[in-house]
């Protein structure tokens, strides 16, 4: 064992030395004389920081306001079974697929897919555009949460949280369209949100993304644990926990429940929209990918269980206070966060603290996810144009912030946010994931090569079962969920919004992402781009040399 250890160590050092030598050779030959080493790709300074950042990306608003309701609606305690099956059979395998692509091909989504195969580049751009759409509205929810952290102190919503949210705070227009009637109470916090996020993006992978996650993620976990402890001691909390954990075994026979579990896992783990490809491209060459991925996957789910306990204990208190059942007060998403929770904050002992903890958690969970979403776009521009970190960060973040500030802090922003969210999730993320697994597994047949890469640098080996899960289970499940989404959105106009509105900002937006991805793929990679990066060429040469030995 010791001898093997030494051999591996020696091979690693030799490969590393060879890699440095090849970089120098390429560098010297390109200019005719030795020059300074090229600026290498940014790298997470430690595996721990990568894991923290990946967890920060995965743990987002959905963990807090989506999972508890999805679990409750789909069998309560029994939902744990499809949830765990979905996590192990699709979530984690697809997470590893993203890791393998990003780490092996060491690039942003478009560059990594391009290096995988020329025809796959369009998938990367599709994911970049999906991230653009999500980024412009995700920031708005963080801004709302920031304001509600403050509102919790004064309980600014008074006796009518619902009326306050849509009336006083958002000033939602009755006409459903896109207008520019700005709401200052949302515009300014959104501007502050973008200023913070742009600062993080400009600072780069180590000084920005890593540091933000190293601060915000532990803070989020501590705040949320305090919130959960506070919630479970509220009167009626037991009723909420009973509602959340009591199993409805019959639900396991319903395909819709299984689809809900798989659908939730896809969204929750941040797979298949470029984030994990981008983050893993910043890893050192000898990083344990699968071991790290297991931690990320289970940490994300661990937080969801915590969120379920905290949210349903609080909802139990709300029902107890209103003299109703938990089922009558349980709602998902925006309704839970900005209407139900303020009601709880108003009535609970130490309610202000509870509100600050809850909305502060949303802010931190949101920011760590938003920076990962934005990083997909920044890295793509950086790779395609060969720009510096600062230049690419500013060139991406400022226009994205501008569009976000133009469209969402308005009286009609809520309608647009709702529509973008519903359609980009289904026909951006899910559709993109389906096309990606079919192309990579069945047309390009790259899974054996990617599993070899995972096994070369990882502690948990991936082979036959992983290939079967990615090539068979994932497409079947994704196809089923996507078909259901398509059928339901065709059957009736989403939320009863005008047909033209859904046509333009729902279906039209989703279609524009595909067209945009095709157009971006047609733009040639410039000489300054990272496509012909000497660092990557040297790394490939070193890997090949190591394999031949």
């Amino acid at each position: 064992m010791e001898a093997k250890h030494e051999t591996n160590r020696a091979n690693g050092y030799n490969a590393a030395h060879k890699w440095v030598n090849v970089v120098c050779m390429i560098n010297a030959s390109s200019s005719g004389a030795p020059t300074a080493a090229p600026v290498g790709r940014e790298t997470f300074s430690s595996r721990k920081l990568f894991i923290l950042s990946a967890i920060g990306s995965a743990v987002g608003l959905g963990n807090i306001w989506r999972f508890p309701y999805v679990a409750y609606e789909n069998g309560g305690g029994a939902f744990l079974i499809p949830y765990l099956v979905a996590l192990l059979s699709a979530g984690i395998p697809l997470l590893f697929l993203d890791y393998a692509i990003g780490h092996k091909f060491r690039g942003s989504a478009p560059l990594a897919y391009r290096r995988l195969h020329r025809s796959a580049e369009v998938l990367g751009w599709w994911q970049v555009l999906v991230c653009f759409i999500i980024a412009i509205y995700y920031a708005v929810i963080i801004a709302w949460s920031g304001m509600y952290t403050w509102f919790s102190v004064t309980k600014a919503w008074g006796g009518d949280p619902g009326g306050f949210f849509t009336g006083d705070f958002l000033q939602v227009s009755e006409s459903i369209n896109v207008g520019f009637n700005f709401v200052p109470g949302v515009f300014w916090p959104l501007l502050v949100t973008w200023a913070v996020v742009i600062g993080i993006m400009v600072a780069g992978v180590n000084k920005g993304i890593s540091k933000a996650n190293a601060i915000f993620l532990p803070l989020l976990v501590v705040m949320f644990i305090i919130l959960v402890v506070q919630s479970v001691f509220l009167p009626g909390a037991v009723d909420g926990l009973n509602a959340f954990f009591t199993p409805n075994w019959e639900a396991l026979g319903d395909p819709g429940v299984w689809a809900a579990a798989y659908g939730h896992i896809f969204f929750s783990l941040s797979v298949a929209f470029g984030i994990m490809v981008t983050y893993s491209s910043y890893l050192k060459r000898k990083t344990d990918l699968t071991g790290s991925g297991m931690v990320v996957g289970f940490a994300n789910s661990g937080f969801e269980i915590l969120a379920g306990i905290g949210v349903f204990a609080a909802l139990g208190f709300m029902a107890h206070n209103a003299g109703s059942t938990v089922g009558e007060v349980a709602v998902p998403g925006i309704g839970l966060a900005f209407i139900a929770f303020p009601t709880i904050v108003s009535a609970a002992p130490l309610g202000a603290l509870m509100g600050v903890l809850f909305f502060g958690s949303l802010v931190f969970a949101g920011i760590t996810s938003l920076i990962s979403i934005l990083e997909v776009i920044v890295a793509a521009v950086q790779d395609k144009l060969g720009w510096s970190r600062v230049r690419a960060s500013l060139a991406v973040s400022i226009p994205v912030a501008f569009i976000s500030l133009l469209l969402f802090p308005t009286a009609t922003g809520l309608y647009l946010l709702d529509t973008f969210d519903a359609f980009v999730n289904s026909f951006g993320i899910l559709a993109g994931a389906l096309v990606a697994v079919i192309l990579i597994a069945w047309f390009l047949r790259k899974l054996p090569m990617l599993s070899d890469h995972l096994n070369k640098v990882s502690s948990v080996r991936m082979r036959t079962t992983w290939i079967a899960l990615v090539s068979v289970v994932a497409p079947l499940v994704l196809g089923y969920i996507l078909y259901n989404e398509f059928a339901s959105k065709i059957a009736e106009t989403y939320e009863g919004y005008p047909v033209w509105f859904i046509g333009v900002f729902g279906w039209g937006m989703a279609g524009a992402l595909v067209v945009g991805a095709l157009l971006l793929t047609l733009i040639p990679w410039s000489a300054k781009s990272k496509l012909n990066d000497p660092e990557y060429a040297a790394m490939v040469a070193a890997d090949e040399a190591e394999e031949q030995r």
Binding site: H5, R47, G77, D288, V460, R461
Partner: protein, 45 residues
């Protein structure tokens, strides 16, 4: 809480948080090192 809800809560905590602890133990057993690959390899999935 009802007995069945308590049982399901414990199962959920043990499987998910236990899975996290096992994943962390596996990671600790394979410390980060630029110079070598993992020595002990877990069972193939």
């Amino acid at each position: 809480m009802t007995p069945i809800a308590i049982v399901m809560m414990i199962i959920a905590m043990v499987t998910v948080w236990g899975g996290l602890i096992l994943a962390l133990i596996n990671l600790v057993r394979h410390p980060e090192d630029e110079g070598h690959l993992p020595e002990t390899i877990a069972r193939e999935l």
